[in-house]
Amino acid sequence: MNSLALDLHPPARRRRTLAWFPLAALSPSLMVLSAFFALPMGMMIGMSFTQTETFSPTLEHYQRFFTDGLSIAGFCRTALMSLLVAVSVTVLGYPVAYFLARATTRWRAVVFALALAPELAGVVLRTYGWLIILEDRGFINDLLLHLGVISSPLPLSKNLFAVVVGLTHVVLPFGILSLMTSIQGIDPNLERAAQMLGASRLAVIRTIVLPLSVPGIVSSMLIAFTMAASAYATPALLGGAGFKVLATMIYEQVLFYIDWPFASVMAMALLLMMLGISFVGVRYESRRRSRASVSSGGER
């Protein structure tokens, strides 16, 4: 009884300690984030508004971004590529995630290991693997040419298709993990009850599992989109010279043309794209939740 009274009304000194504790616990990570994220980010934003020679404030780099044609094309290409990767990852990852969330057999461990296996090899290694498979002189074209199915190589590499395939492979494990966590949170008794009441397996998935796993789907789409949008190695290797996305364009501006203010503008555009898509996803999810809570409250 005494101890309960102490817990409910701690002395002032202890209250102060408790109030400071979360801040103290956060301070190392806050310091690291300030030094290595917020500060460089601030410098990048400042640089994007700075004239290269005179260091005076300017909007010329933003004007160039919107008028040169290539930058906006790169922005749109990045958005399209990331969207396709997000959809591919979620569609391909969903069945695997569902199996992993529900299976109890020993195959679960095998499938789980296979789903995460791509992460054991580096991104560059995996991308070169796809290059060997997809390029003009690669495995698929060689095989089809050898079989006489085609007379000249199919354009499987150095384009959007190749990059989406490569990035889907890279990001898929993250999508699967995100979806699996969400599906595991759905009470399996709901599915059993629906089946006992005569719903088919497909109807159960469509009307119960899919709607309840929307948070996982949103999260998988967001993870895949942001990872794809910021990827460099895969678009650079599989996209070739004709498929430039913002990440590869930033790399060129930084290292080859040494035009850091313009690279900063591109980085800002990429950042805003990712923040925008994250905002849309989070907003959609919170509105969906509030609608769900209103409707369940009404039923009660």
């Binding site: 044609g69 290539l70 003009d136 150095k158 070739g240 010279a241 004709g242 043309y257 040494i258």
Partner: protein
Amino acid sequence: MGAKCLLASLCLAFSGFGSGTAGAETLIINSYGGPYEDIIRERIIGPFEKRFGIDVVYDAVGSAQQDYAKIKATQGRPGFDLVVMTASQSLQGCKDGLLEQLTPSSIPNLNALQGELAAVAGACGAVHEVQYLSLLYRTDKLASQPSSWSALLEPELNKRVILPTFQNIMAVYLLEMMSVTNGGDLIDNVDPGFDAMAKISAQSVGFEQSSAILESYLREGSVWAMPFWNGRAQLMVDEGLPVDYISPKEGTIPLVATLNIPVGAANKDAARKFIDFFLEKSSQEAWVAGYRVGSARGDITVPDELKDRQLTAGPDGDRLHLPDLLRLQEKLPEWAERWERDVVPNAR
């Protein structure tokens, strides 16, 4: 007693470390990998270490332009003492105050370089090697030896040409030479060059950035012609591959390679010793014979098989086009946009 023993051991250990590092001076060199690294280690670095007792740490990460970006980002303190770049970065680095000025008082062998070529690199670069853009081709595939840059437009080479990306300076020089070949010039009127490059792009199999990857297409025979540095082309000829290279009749542009010292380098004296050693007559002869390139020294003995294939500033002056590299650097962003718009989409 235990604490005293521990203190004494620590003192001994640290004094040992100190004497070790002070005894052997270290020079960190940033340069290229691949065959370049093997040859420079064997013919230049090994003998240098032996003569001066200086340990060389070789860092093969990054192209010349990437190295310069690192120098700029660190305000001249990139972590290496000496870097191999080209005349473009030398001039830019000198202008930006990021590279050390090199003088004959500390590097006497600078006086032995041919004035015209040495001047290309400006006050901060020591020219240790000269190559030129050549036209490399498969001798077993082409009906006859090409003689002009226009050969890249021949129908015979449809889908048999590979091009460097614009981030590889080879592409810029090829654009300039196509411009000269078609009535334009090196800097101010490159419209004919872009028109020609758009046509070459249409009959190319695409673009690659790395010289090693470009080379692989020709090695396996899927591509029959491409622009390439003559030194590396000569290495392929020496290997016995069915390839050869020419300096086309319209002339070519040299790649002037330089040794540079960043202003914030920790071991500038050792770097200066290395540059002087590399520019010595015997070192230049060893380098030319090993890497199959040209030298800015006019007094060296060149192997017979290379004599007729090299271009030098004096006798071959009319065939070597020397663009204003600082103006070229300023034009690059504009040309890069135009390349992406007018040239790249024509491939495939």
